[in-house]
Amino acid sequence: MSAERAIVAWCPDWPIRAGAAEAGVDPDEPIAVIEAGVVAACSASARAAGVRRGLRIREAQSRCATLVVLPANPAADARRFEPVLTALESGIPTVQVVRPGVVVIRAQGPARFFGGEPEAAETVLGLLAGAGVPEARVGIADGPFAAEQAARSTTPATRARLVAPGGSASFLAPLPVALTGMPELAAVLTKLGIRTLGDFAALPADQVRDRFGPAGEAAHRVAAGLDPRRVVPRIAPKDRTATVEFEPPLDRVDQIAFALKRTAERFLDALAADLLVCTGLTVEIGTEDGGLRRRTWLHPRSFTTLDVIDRVRWQLSGIGVEALEAAVSVVRLAPESIDEAANHEQGLWGGGPDERIHHALSRVQSMLGHEAVLTATVGGGRLVADRRVLAPWGERGAPQRDPDRPWPGRLPGFGPSSVLGDRPDVAVLDPAGATVVVDERGMPSGPPAGFVPPDSGRRRAVTAWAGPWPVDERWWDPVAARSVHRLQVVDDDGSAWLLCYEAGRWWAEARYD
């Protein structure tokens, strides 16, 4: 497979230009952009003073006393590059951004349209100069890697370089191996006496694969001028947000829901026109007093108009039940995740059983609220209440802690059938009738003989007991630290309980019924 012809346009020192514009500094001054404590990019005047990439800040400042040091800001680089990209796309629509400052274009289309590769390079330079980057360079070669090296090999006088088709390998041969972008690979090769890409490309491919793995094999192909990467032009994302403003602001949930119907329909129709459906939705509700409530809702299938209105209604109910505390002035719907409609089409004979289940449970949710219908997974932890992870129907309930870890200290035997989430108070009494206390060494002050369960005030005799077993979790974290002693008791009724003792208080954690 031969590499396809690619045009790379390179704006030299882009992080310097963007950083200088952000900080309001003249880009001709000596400037260095610092990332992880070392110089990541430097301006031409700084280079003239001896500053190089990879120097520590102190070293760079000692070489150039007037050096302006700026922190790396990838977001600003991308933001400043956006107008340049728009200008370029106005002339050549299929542009892929490698990183801010470097773009790659498939050469075939522009070369045919503009009447040849030199003319296409001229056009790119003209478009970039029009966007305020007159010093941009262009390289054309087989594959994006060779084209970028061609662009970097130009001088301010000759701002474009063409490598003839099939000439990439011989063009790349004298360049150093460090350009592969894999520092470890380059270090090993240099130690082996292989200093240029040509020497590297001359190695047998199977031996490179055996020694350096798939990544090394890919680098070897690139060095040989057989860059397998294709240009994937970016597709400018559409703004799919739908906004509805209420003038005067509304303060009743049913009014808002009614007024929202058209907007929700338009929002979903716009997606449907592009054969897309919405599977995650962000709802922003702005109130008259300047407040903003934002929440993301997920859907196990895809949103319908009624689903969208239900989510807004639930979000409003969180603000205040029927009459809202503050009148709502704006509602904004934005898709959080979208998917192709083909993945969500119903079958010819209607949906399967899951569709019906989802509809019925959604009706229960609209009756009781989003959080009222739950799905459950087992999570990690030592106390039984920690091991229960609940998520509203339709959302993904991923346990934060892995249940399959050993969790030393968790109880063996049965899982209790009733896990009491509200930690009701109980009393555990010794034969003399005094409350049993567990000391710092985990020893009870006396054998548990009596027990008062949470629902009744009647004292029951304890017929069997085991424990107490300590759990001393996350003692290094003052917020999450917990020191609990657990005790299993069986009372004379035959019921078994799991009790916990923490800071002088006994509570029931679970019941085996």
Binding site: I357, A372, F414, S418, V419, W465, Q488
Partner: protein
């Protein structure tokens, strides 16, 4: 009759048990086309007809464990289960007894809408476990029962239920593995009293924690 049955020789007693079981099955033979749900084989002797019936209601007033065991069979066979009004449902125990959590839906706090929620989920899910927050009126029970019959869903009620196919009560419990200050809860022996259409029978069931196996001991029958 119970006292005389107990005084018989062991083989005689076994034959009496068989006769009584045959009589119960005959009395409980319902119409044609009664669909049953896959049920754990250890629990088959507890249930009239040997399995959970689609469209019927069963009362399990005092044991969530027994309700989980009843749910486990249909759930493992691919059925969805709903748990309505049980905020303290132990997920890990249910998973251990064989309930598939991927097909389990919880409505912990249905409040005053519990009957509507139960009817709504019974429309689509084959097993519904319900703890009524208040005593259901006869009219409510009858309406829900007709809904269940129509949809073929099975209701397990954690509480008394007027039109129950069978009421399963856990009467005595002995715990094993736990001493006074030693061991841990490793197993339990329960006697399940089954009341189905005025026939009462008792079944000792032993539950052990090794790989969540339950064993069925020899059943003892008693006609009331």
């Amino acid at each position: 009759m119970p006292s005389s049955a107990l005084q018989l020789a062991p083989d005689e007693r076994a034959r009496t048990v068989e006769q009584l079981q045959a009589r119960i099955s005959a009395m409980q033979a319902t119409g044609l086309g009664v669909r049953t749900l896959p049920t754990r084989p250890e629990l088959a002797p507890l249930l009239p007809g040997g399995a959970l019936k689609a469209g019927a209601a069963y009362a399990v007033p005092d044991s969530l464990t027994l309700a989980m065991l009843l749910m486990a069979g249909p759930s493992a066979a691919g059925g969805w289960c709903a748990v309505v009004g049980v905020p303290d449902f132990g997920i890990e125990a249910a998973a251990g007894f064989g309930v598939d959590l991927d097909r389990l839906v919880l409505v912990p706090q249905p409040g005053e809408h519990w009957l509507a929620v139960a009817a709504q989920v019974a429309d689509v899910l084959p097993i519904v476990l319900l703890r009524p927050p208040a005593r259901a009126t006869a009219g409510d029970t009858a309406r829900l029962a007709s809904r269940l019959r129509q949809r073929g869903s099975t209701l397990l009620v954690l509480g008394p239920w007027a039109q129950a196919e069978a009421t399963l009560e856990v009467r005595t419990t002995a715990w094993t593995g736990i001493g006074t200050g030693s061991g841990y809860l490793a197993g339990r022996d329960v006697t399940v009293t089954v009341t189905a259409r005025d026939i009462r029978s008792e079944h000792p069931v032993r539950i052990r924690d090794d790989r969540w196996r339950i064993e069925q001991a020899a059943a003892r029958l008693e006609a009331v």
